[in-house]
Symmetry: C2
Subunit: 401 residues, 2 copies
């Protein structure tokens, strides 16, 4: 069972969380609980470090920001004991949950569950501080924002858990963002692959890495609400879903910005020349389209970067202009990436065509297209976000009755 | 260098603390810094646990309340690095600072300084989270309120430090409480013994246990302000003080309450009969006076307990009345213990007599008297606190010019 910060925001909510844990334990299950910090606490700690120094040692950052989960793990253990449930807290170094040395964004290498399992046999619930681990140097590490999801999945995998329940402030995974699509439906099941695409597209129910890990170790995830008792959404292997919808959801990301280079010399090495310097600057490029050459000597290149990287990307490219020899550079932050996602489209043609037709009927111009096996994404002007998402949601038959 | 919560209350103050540490390091010293939590943080964490359960597991209490020092240790390390001073944080379990298993009030058993010392040779400052340690089970322990003083002294002893500077919100140890004695003077030096008496009498500059530890290991303590650059007060061995004042200070404690038993059978075993049940109930008794027998069969017994223990003490004694056979019990919380302290009184007679005379001249009735080698204490009505302390301060020539 994993509980996020909104489920642990104050002592009353922690007590409510303890009740849920008690119910599972009393149903005869062996339970490990992974907890986030009280909501707001991690942000405050991150802010402290940000204000302490412009450039900071990530090893010290980890010492500071891991304190929040430490607090909730102790408090939840105390409350469980108070309700008569044997429990103890586990900090990352105590388990140990061993990670690499990439402080601030470490990867889990090993989880030693031997002592936790031994205590299961004595009826003890393990309350694990999420988001944190320890490296071979004995320094505290953290797993990156949302890392408690990853802690929970890694622990579930190491324990061979029957299920990993992610308790959060929404009651499951939806066909689209309910804030802009009133008719969005909750999905009973979704595949790991679909969940990955949704997570990476801004439907931030789960940390992307936690879904990858769950997929790799075949951990059955359940996303459910800590504020009601609905069944939530199961994130499972494709084989477990008998009736596959062609399209499971419509996602969008406002996090993108578009860069266009005009009159780029059309010769071998052009792409490498453009994307090499961007990669060196640590800037990720997402969608890429090489336009048809206008004449036989030059071409156009359009691609997207994260909105927060746009200014840096422009500077890098302007500096490289003499080498690249492009004619003109234009940057546009006012774009949105809208995606149609579904494992069913592997075996169904025409999904992309329906998308283009729907958007065209609404007068929405498509600027860039990219596709994967289970996803079609288009870049459109940001002002069309709601219209595009709602129209597609209706067109693919996803609207609730 | 040890810094309390008021010296680390916000980022600006932590930066100011970092500047002080930097100055010491740049003067060529090998520096270990021991830090408290930001002021208010530990209280908030203690409050969380108190509200989480009526009876709580002290092992979990320690997990929760030790988080505050973890945060400041990381922040101070970051700021030192930002100022170009090599530094790293050390949590109790990382050193390790080994304690017994008395969670919530653990005693330090061993401090392994080998790695800290090795890094001194590389110019690295050790920033140690105070108040916390680890037991042989690998569980986090804490050292009781004010325990960061004890962490600092233990570390200084283990390192063989030349000095242990306790930075706090006062600029040293005074001849009396400056809040009630305007003419109180700061002492340049005070002995361990005197400091112990002052600490145990409510002059809460240092945790009593830290002074005991400093005395045992001959750690030279300096109490000084983190808000100015005055020299503070040195707490040292008696041999280091050449000109010993007969009386060094006037302390008081409002923490006492008086219990009187009248017509107690005067026979062997009376005292044991009274104080046995109190000890069994965990109630500490301080001053004790057995009154002269009124006749040959009964006597009176007066003693003090902590004000917070008074109600329980009365209940214990009422329950034991049939066994004890005393006539009447009276309890009075409105008393204060006033003490004259000074190692010089070992070799000077008449100190107690001057005290009695001074109080008598002011019309202050003495209810109980107790003495030790370097202290004379009297119990008087609480309303005379200021008058008694000020009169004695003047009488022993302690007033500032």
């Amino acid at each position: 069972m994993k509980f996020g910060g909104t489920s642990l925001a104050d002592l009353d909510l922690i007590r409510e969380t303890a009740r849920r844990v008690k119910a599972e334990a009393e149903a005869g299950h062996e339970v490990a609980v992974v907890v986030s910090a009280m909501s707001g606490v991690t942000n405050r700690l991150v802010d402290y470090v940000d204000r302490a120094a412009k450039l900071f040692d990530l090893r010290e950052y980890d010492v500071v920001v891991s304190a929040g989960e430490q607090i909730t793990s102790g408090l939840l253990a105390v409350m469980l004991q108070d309700m008569g449930v044997p429990a103890r807290s586990w900090l990352g170094w105590q388990i140990p949950l061993l990670t690499d040395e990439a402080h601030g964004n470490a990867r889990i290498e090993n989880v030693d569950t031997s002592e936790i399992v031994r205590r299961f046999s004595e009826g003890q619930v393990a309350v694990v501080a999420g988001f944190q681990g320890v490296d071979v140097q004995g320094r505290v590490t953290t797993l990156g924002r949302g890392g408690t999801d990853t802690s929970a999945v890694a622990l579930a995998a190491a324990l061979g858990a029957r299920r990993c329940d992610i308790y959060t402030d929404v009651d499951g995974v939806y066909t689209s963002d309910p804030r802009i699509v009133a008719k969005a439906r909750k999905l009973d099941k979704v595949t790991y692959e679909e969940m990955l695409e949704m997570a990476s597209l801004g439907a931030k129910v789960l940390q992307t890495r936690s879904v990858e890990l769950a997929m790799k170790h075949r951990v059955r995830l359940r996303v459910c609400s800590s504020f009601d008792d609905s069944a939530g959404t199961l994130v499972v292997d494709e084989d477990e879903i008998v009736e596959k919808a062609i399209v499971s959801g419509i996602a969008y990301s406002r996090d993108e910005a578009k860069v266009t280079l005009i009159n780029v010399p059309d010769q071998p090495g052009t792409a490498a020349g453009i994307f090499g310097p961007l990669a060196d600057a640590g800037i990720n490029v997402d969608m890429i389209v090489q336009n048809a050459a206008v004449d036989e000597k030059t071409t156009g290149m359009t691609f997207t970067v994260r909105k927060t990287d746009l200014d840096r990307a422009v500077k890098v490219l302007e500096r490289a202009q003499p080498d690249l020899g492009y004619g003109e550079l234009s940057a546009d932050p006012n774009v949105v990436k809208v995606s149609v996602i579904g494992v069913g489209m592997r075996s169904h043609a025409g999904v992309a065509q329906s998308m283009f037709k729907t958007l065209s009927e609404k007068g929405i111009n498509i600027q860039v297209i990219s596709t994967s096996e289970i996803k079609v994404s288009v870049l459109v002007a940001e002002e069309y976000t709601e219209l595009a998402v709602r129209s597609l949601h209706t067109a693919y038959g996803l609207d609730a009755d």
